[in-house]
């Protein structure tokens, strides 16, 4: 087990980064050069099931998606906070469990509010 936990552990990730980057860059470039190019005006229009496209796709969409994104940020932070506890589960013992569950209960209060306000109702 070479669990030395130094920044050196990340060197292979950098390697894979370079290999994958090289592969993606080369193939993207090559396929750009390889294929035939017969461009017509209609072909380069954006696709709309065969009819002429109306306007473009820079459209506003439902605010629910933003709500999902905001709630995700908040929940994500809460989940991340629990990781150090999970790693130290044994050392922290019962006090740790009580601490984290009081944390989770506050999260559940928010979650209950979210359900009660029907913030994530997609049916209507």
């Amino acid at each position: 087990m070479n669990a030395t936990n130094t920044p050196m552990d990340y060197l292979p990730i950098v390697m894979m980064f370079l290999v994958a980057f090289g592969f993606v860059a080369t193939t993207m470039f090559l396929t750009h050069k390889l294929g035939p190019k017969r461009k017509t005006k209609i072909k380069l229009e954006s696709f709309e099931c065969g009819i002429h496209s109306e306007g473009n796709a820079r459209l506003p969409f439902s605010v629910k998606y933003f709500l999902v994104a905001i709630l995700f940020v908040l929940f994500d932070v809460e989940v991340i906070f629990m990781y150090p506890w999970a790693v130290n589960f044994k050392d922290l013992g019962l006090p740790g469990i009580i601490e984290v569950f009081s944390f989770i209960i506050l999260l559940l209060v928010g979650f209950y509010y979210l359900l009660a306000k029907k913030a994530l109702r997609w049916e209507d």
């Binding site: 552990d9 292979p12 990730i13 390697m15 894979m16 993207m28 380069l44 459209l59 589960f89």
Partner: protein, 352 residues
């Protein structure tokens, strides 16, 4: 040090090539499997059993005309699929394919790297994988692509929370480590984690389906509503990059599940078996057999992914979001609570 670096470089290229090969042949297997389920033959023209079909498909994807719509944002249009494919390779680095072996006095691991925060790294790369889809879908400047991209990204972020919580429960079971390798080693001595975390595994599995945008969660490319979803405008290798990325993601997430919950390269009575056929610790054969076992488990998971795809109908979007937020998150918190209780009262990790 030099040996270490050269070895890692070779392993890196090897894992890269294997991911590519598995992804290519997963497309073949997907079609064969679908054919099996639907009582057809599937691809059978190119080579024996249609085995050269992926090569032909790959060649075709390279040679096709690439269309970049006039109204699109050119740079981002190319960046989207590139990023998606690129990130799919980065998740695979952490998977330990086998035990360490000794070569010329050096202990070498059949794993690219084992970082201290491995599981969080996986969560991190998954959370960034959203970018490829959002950027690609938005840059196409097509209404279907935009809807597909927005759907895909909010689906992926919604399921990430439940996934994160189920991983926390797993970390507690595994004795407080985020390192992939150590989690596998705890399963070497005892039972596989699936025995302690059946509910956690179910949640993780559902989330993995949703994160890889596989059926029944493939609303992002739901052809009955959105033509092709976020890759409607893509053609040639850029479409191929999205597909390849999806299959590599499927391969890696299958490997992650097989490792975290099913013991990876460990199998029952492994020690006795190795002893019986006379292999010593540190032999390269043990690593190879382990890697074979791991690949078989991964393959089974890939097949289950496909089985589900050809069996279950697609969710409706409200059902999908309800499942993610109202069912899986409370369920994963419940699983966490159960795990803690089991640790205290049954396994006795903590003395009251």
């Amino acid at each position: 040090m030099t040996v270490f670096l050269i070895y890692k470089a070779i392993l890196c290229v090897l894992i890269f090539a294997v991911s590519l090969g598995v992804a290519a042949y997963a497309t073949w297997w997907e079609r064969k499997f679908a054919a099996l389920l639907q009582d057809r033959k599937g691809p059978n023209r190119a080579g024996p059993l249609g085995l050269f079909q992926p090569l032909a498909d790959g060649g075709k994807m390279f040679m096709k005309e690439e269309i970049i719509p006039n109204v699109s944002n050119k740079f981002l249009f190319i960046l989207g699929p590139s990023l998606f494919l690129f990130l799919s390779f980065l998740t695979g680095v952490l998977i330990p394919w086998g035990k360490d072996f000794t070569y010329d006095g050096h202990a070498l691991a059949l794993q690219l790297t084992d970082i201290n925060v491995g599981l969080l790294y996986i969560l991190g790369v998954t959370s960034i994988a959203v970018y490829g889809i959002i950027i690609g879908g938005w840059a196409s400047n097509n209404k279907y692509s935009l809807l597909g991209a927005v759907r895909a990204s909010s689906q992926m972020i919604s399921y990430e929370i439940a996934m994160g919580i189920s991983i926390i429960a797993l970390v507690i079971t595994a004795g407080g480590t985020l390192s992939f390798r150590e989690i596998l080693d705890t399963q070497d001595a005892g039972l596989a984690n699936i025995c302690y975390q059946p509910l956690g595994f179910l949640i993780f599995f559902i989330c993995a389906l949703a994160e890889t945008n596989r059926a029944p969660f493939d609303l992002a490319e739901c052809e009955t509503e959105l033509v092709g979803g976020y890759h409607t405008e893509y053609s040639a290798f850029k479409l191929g990059a999205f597909m390849f990325g999806e299959y590599i993601n499927m391969f890696v997430s299958s490997a992650i599940m097989a490792g975290l919950y099913f013991g990876g390269y460990n199998f029952p009575f492994a020690k006795e078996f190795y002893h019986m056929i006379g292999l010593e610790d540190g032999s390269a054969w043990i690593s190879l057999i382990g890697a074979g076992v791991y690949l078989i488990k991964t393959f089974i998971f890939i097949s289950v992914f496909m089985w589900i795809r050809w069996t279950l109908p697609r969710f409706r979007y409200d059902q999908l979001m309800n499942l993610g937020w109202r069912v899986l998150i409370p369920l994963s918190l419940l699983n966490l609570a159960i795990t803690v209780l089991v640790e205290i009262f049954i396994r006795g990790t903590i003395q009251l």
